[in-house]
Each structure stands twice: as C-alpha cells, then as structure tokens.
Symmetry: C2
Subunit: 113 residues, 2 copies
C-alpha cells in the first residue's frame, strides 16, 4: 500500500498508471512524443477536447513531471509543450500499448503530420 498526496495506491504500477489515466493524457503524451507542440496545435489535433480540459491535463502532466513547457515572452503569447526526460522514457511503453492494440483489434488511427 502506497500513500501519496493523501491518496492510496495498491502498488507502484497502480500509482504510475494513475499518472496517465486522465481521459486525454496518453493521447497528449503520444503527440508530444513526436515533437513539441503549442497549445492550440494540440487542441486542433486532439479532436473534441475543450480548452479547459486540455489545460487541466497539461497542468497535471506538468505537475507530475511528464511534460515541460517554454513560454515565449511574446504578444500574442506562445507556449510550447514537450516531453520531459521522464516522459520520454515512458513513451516506449505507450507505443507498445499502441501497437498491441492495432495488432489485436485492427483499428485505424489517422496519424496527423
């Protein structure tokens, strides 16, 4: 049993998995995996996500150290998100799940860019 920030986890996997359980988190991580992206760029790529929720997910991922951002002091503002070292190291696992899925469920994902 693991306690962390008042929440309890059954084991390390449970804890780690919870870091990426958010509805859009893995998708975000996956997209950032092949290149830094701006806020609006992400919103456009990820069909159906609202600004508020995108923000939430990004903040959460940032707080957990999976992603980082650069804020360019410009007008209009420009912010770029990218995978941290930690995030990059998780990336292969996500790719494994992705290929596992395509292998067993025969779905097609239109990959952008």
């Amino acid at each position: 049993m693991i306690s962390y920030n008042g929440k309890e986890y059954v084991c390390a996997l449970d804890f780690g998995f919870n870091l990426i359980k958010g509805k859009w988190k893995v998708v975000i991580l996956c997209h950032l995996g092949n290149g830094a992206k701006r806020f609006l760029e992400l919103q456009r790529i990820i069909d159906g996500i609202s600004q508020k929720v995108l923000n939430q997910q990004l903040r959460s991922l940032e707080a957990d150290g999976l992603i980082e951002k650069v804020v360019y002091p410009e007008v209009p503002p420009r912010v770029e998100y990218y995978l941290s070292e930690k995030g990059k190291e998780l990336y292969p696992a996500l790719k494994m799940i992705e290929s596992w899925t395509t292998k067993h469920y025969d779905l097609y994902c239109k990959d952008e860019e």
Copy 2:
C-alpha cells in the same frame, strides 16, 4: 477517429488504453500475470476492492478478451482467472510502466507471494 460500440476514440492508443483504464484493471492484470487466481484470492490480494467492483472489472476484461476463466463444476464453486494470449502480450507493457514508476518515483510495492 474511431467508433466502437457507440463510443468514440481519437486513435488506436486511446482505444487500447481505455480497455485497461478501469480503476483496478492493471492491478488485476498484473497479478494474473504471475499465475492464475481465484476470485476470492484476487479480492484478498487487492486491498480495498469490493466484490461488486471486482466482478465488474473482471467481466469487462473478459469481454475485451484480456482474461479468461475456468469454472470448475464443484460445490462450493471454484473459478480461476488467467491472462489470455492477448493479455499476456500486453503484460510486458504494464511491467515497463511499473519499472518506469519505481525508477522515477522511488515507491515501494509490497509484492505478495
């Protein structure tokens, strides 16, 4: 965009990840990964899960083909759950997430048996 059972998914990863997003699913898969288990056994190992929810998670995993079960026609009933081929192939990815977690977050998981 992928449609499946009336639900929409942004991409294959999104779809596949959703198969294991349930609160206890990865934990169950992980435990079944090192040996078949009976219902009560799982409930005892996974601290805090109720019968109803354990059942839900098992049914869902079964429906998605990640686990299978054998029902022994005995009294009292005996049911054993174990990873399907599909499930076994996903297992390494879960292990990767687990070791990624322990590497970066320094948590300890008391592994039973």
